[in-house]
Symmetry: C2
Subunit: 260 residues, 2 copies
Amino acid sequence: MNNLPERLILVCNDDGYQAPGLAALIESVKPYGKVVAVVPEKGESGKSHAITITLPLRLNLLRDDDYVTMYSCSGTPVDSIKLALNQVLKRKPDLVVSGINHGSNSSISVIYSGTMGAVIEACLNGIPAVGFSLLDFSLNADFTASKFVVKRMVENVLQHSLPPMVCLNVNIPRVSVNELKGLRLARQTKGVWKEEFDKRTDPHNRTYYWMTGDFKNFEPFAEDTDEWALAQGYASVVPVYVDLTAYHVMNQLSNWNYEL
Amino acid sequence: MNNLPERLILVCNDDGYQAPGLAALIESVKPYGKVVAVVPEKGESGKSHAITITLPLRLNLLRDDDYVTMYSCSGTPVDSIKLALNQVLKRKPDLVVSGINHGSNSSISVIYSGTMGAVIEACLNGIPAVGFSLLDFSLNADFTASKFVVKRMVENVLQHSLPPMVCLNVNIPRVSVNELKGLRLARQTKGVWKEEFDKRTDPHNRTYYWMTGDFKNFEPFAEDTDEWALAQGYASVVPVYVDLTAYHVMNQLSNWNYEL
């Protein structure tokens, strides 16, 4: 007789409860435990680690059956995790997964990502957490290869757990299962989004701007980066640290003037 | 005859263009160059590194005289920096400062902070950038001591510049100038916000939640942390690295299974 409590897995994302990537993620983690999803009620891409301070938050129970318990949240991905941990779940989950995002969160995009905002928030609360993103924005994206990646990483995390204050940013190339070369541990590529705003005039003769942009990779030939792994057909696995201190410059900065 | 171009300083914040902390910051940096401010049109606290993807953005020129050129932006602090760099300024600024925030951004709050979102965005674009926050939420907060801190740090950065991909998170205790002990280089305190949602019922009998919370310091006696420095009456100076890779666990994670 097995008296161990069933494993509890919390699922989040930033594309909202109707995203096909969410369904693919729930399907992938379902064999590993009881699944509760608390996800934004609408698209929250680019919301990073934003929280909602000046508005009240709502939860809406969408589904509660043997397959999944699912709530939508009126706030951001981070709000969703906070409400899940504090109001929805009766105990701390054993694992938090977020995604599968429709679009890349590699390199510096980790910092803008709502998918990873949810993951980082879970990590801050001491829960093993992994974000998954597929390099395909399409609503019709094929998540077949992604599901293999999710299963491999969930098994890794359940077997090894994760170091304190470290979570994972996993990106998956847009390839078929046969083309996927495997997974590859990598570091965050140094790069930046170069913005080119699309400047327009509205019907009332006022100027407005749409944000667009191109990713500029500062080190396209560095084989230990996530961008390189993805370009070669690997899923990239970047461990993310939630202590932002630049320890490597402490000595250099200790020579500055700190007197008033 | 001096043909050097005048130093150009970009100012941002997350409390909006009417915040007294913004006026204090502009006054503090004005002696060091031409000042252009591009700031959110309303409070954007807790917006982290969020960007606006699904809505167009607006800029509104509020003031343009010898003292300051100021625009409000309809988006987040990060949107404001992007628009400033791409649409407002004719050249890359020599320095970006953000704040002075009404309220602390020490320890893990750096990750939720809109003030620091602006700073990190500038840093990603290769510009020396510093965020300033005063541990006082009040609209009537006294920024006298803060102004000394801003001047000291601006002079440090102009003299030494900053290492690549490193920006600064400066917090100032709520003390008088006489009580302020000086500045202190520190690391980000390990801690977490423990949320206790205030659950209420609206007039239509529906549940809603207000986010509240208490900061829990995991290492209150660590003398090299920003929380410790602030508690002792120092302004804390934390160098922030925008590469989130957890390099210290790479070896440990290299033993996982990365096959499909």
